[in-house]
């Protein structure tokens, strides 16, 4: 891979995407994220509202991440098969963002539209001990937002929600159209 030399004079947007950025200390990220959680918390009244807000911010991140990530990691090739996409999320995508694969990928027993990605201890929850009065708050709603934006942006429209189950479970409910299309692709 070609490395780009010093380019302080070039426009910020001209920088190569292929290079990848140096990693950042987890503490820096954790503290920034914690400020974001508090900022959002001061502007909403309930836990679901807070989670929605975090998911929105996650979506912002996800939609921008797409450009950066897919160019680099997939060499422009788009995933069409649902299963491959899910495996990509669980593997490459997770590894790039969080330095490891997601712990588990499962399909719901009774519903072919629903999949679960299970992460025992998501980075965003690592330092957060939720007080009892906010028992249901799961800040990984942010990650769910990222996921949702990435899936939507790659033409796998879905709703992603977080749940406290086996650590954190991301429930991915795909749009009917995705399943129909996938059956067609598989059928070929």
């Amino acid at each position: 891979m070609a490395t780009v030399g010093k380019q302080s004079k070039t426009n910020n947007l001209d920088k190569s995407l292929a290079k990848g950025k140096p990693e950042v200390n987890v503490a820096t990220f954790a503290l920034l994220f914690s400020e974001i959680v508090q900022y959002c918390q001061n502007r909403v009244y309930t836990v679901p509202e807070l989670q929605n807000k975090l998911a929105e911010l996650g979506q912002h991140v996800g939609s921008h991440l797409l450009d950066v990530l897919f160019v680099r990691e997939k060499g422009y090739k788009r995933e069409i098969k649902l299963l491959n996409m899910l495996l990509f999320i669980k593997g490459n995508f997770w590894r790039t963002l969080f330095g490891k694969d997601a712990d588990k990928l499962e399909q719901a027993n009774d519903d072919d539209k629903t999949y679960y990605i299970i992460e025992k201890e998501p980075v965003v929850n690592k330092f957060i001990s939720v007080p009892k009065d906010k028992g249901s708050l799961n800040c990984a709603a942010f990650t769910a937002g990222i996921l949702e934006a990435v899936l939507n942006g790659t033409n796998f429209p879905a709703k992603v929600t977080v749940h406290w189950h086996k650590g954190t479970t991301f429930m991915i409910k795909f749009d009917e159209s995705v399943i129909i299309r996938d059956k067609m692709v598989e059928g070929k």
């Binding site: 954790a30 994220f33 914690s34 400020e35 508090q38 330092f127 001990s129 939720v130 906010k134």
Partner: protein
């Protein structure tokens, strides 16, 4: 050997955390009163120790000993004060206090957005980690008979 109790004060003198294990006798005053006395004493000892020091000292006050117990003191450059009382056999607790600061306080309080830094620590996670850590220390293992 054993550990009796443990305090954390912030730079404003607020007691952020108090925990006790094998403390058999209480001071007979309210906890708030006790915290205030503790902080006041540390403040005075610190400034006294620095004042009469024959040379410039870096760390200043580290501990004191009575016939029954030893008080260990560790202060960070940010003014956080960690205090532990042990029996006389415990030896230096400086590394232990630094470890509590760096691996428990910083990880579970500082990085927890829901913990306010200048208020007593309510996080259950912090409390359980602290308790677990203290109980795992070799110093803790042998109880006073």
């Amino acid at each position: 050997m054993t550990i009796f109790d443990f305090y954390i004060f912030d730079r404003n003198g607020t007691c952020l955390c108090y925990a006790e294990w094998n403390r058999k006798k209480q001071s007979g005053i309210s906890k708030d009163e006790e915290y205030k006395l503790m902080y006041g004493m540390l403040f005075s000892i610190k400034s006294f120790v620095n004042r009469i020091s024959p040379t410039d000292i870096k760390d200043g006050f580290l501990n004191f000993k009575t016939s029954k117990y030893m008080l260990h003191f560790y202060e960070t450059p940010s003014g956080l004060k960690l205090i532990m009382n042990t029996d006389l056999g415990a030896g230096s607790m400086r590394d232990v206090l630094h470890q509590i600061y760096s691996t428990i306080y910083v990880e579970y309080v500082v990085k927890n957005p829901l913990c306010e830094l200048d208020k007593p620590i309510l996080s259950e996670l912090f409390k359980s980690k602290l308790d677990e850590f203290i109980r795992s220390l070799p110093v803790f293992a042998s109880k006073v008979s």
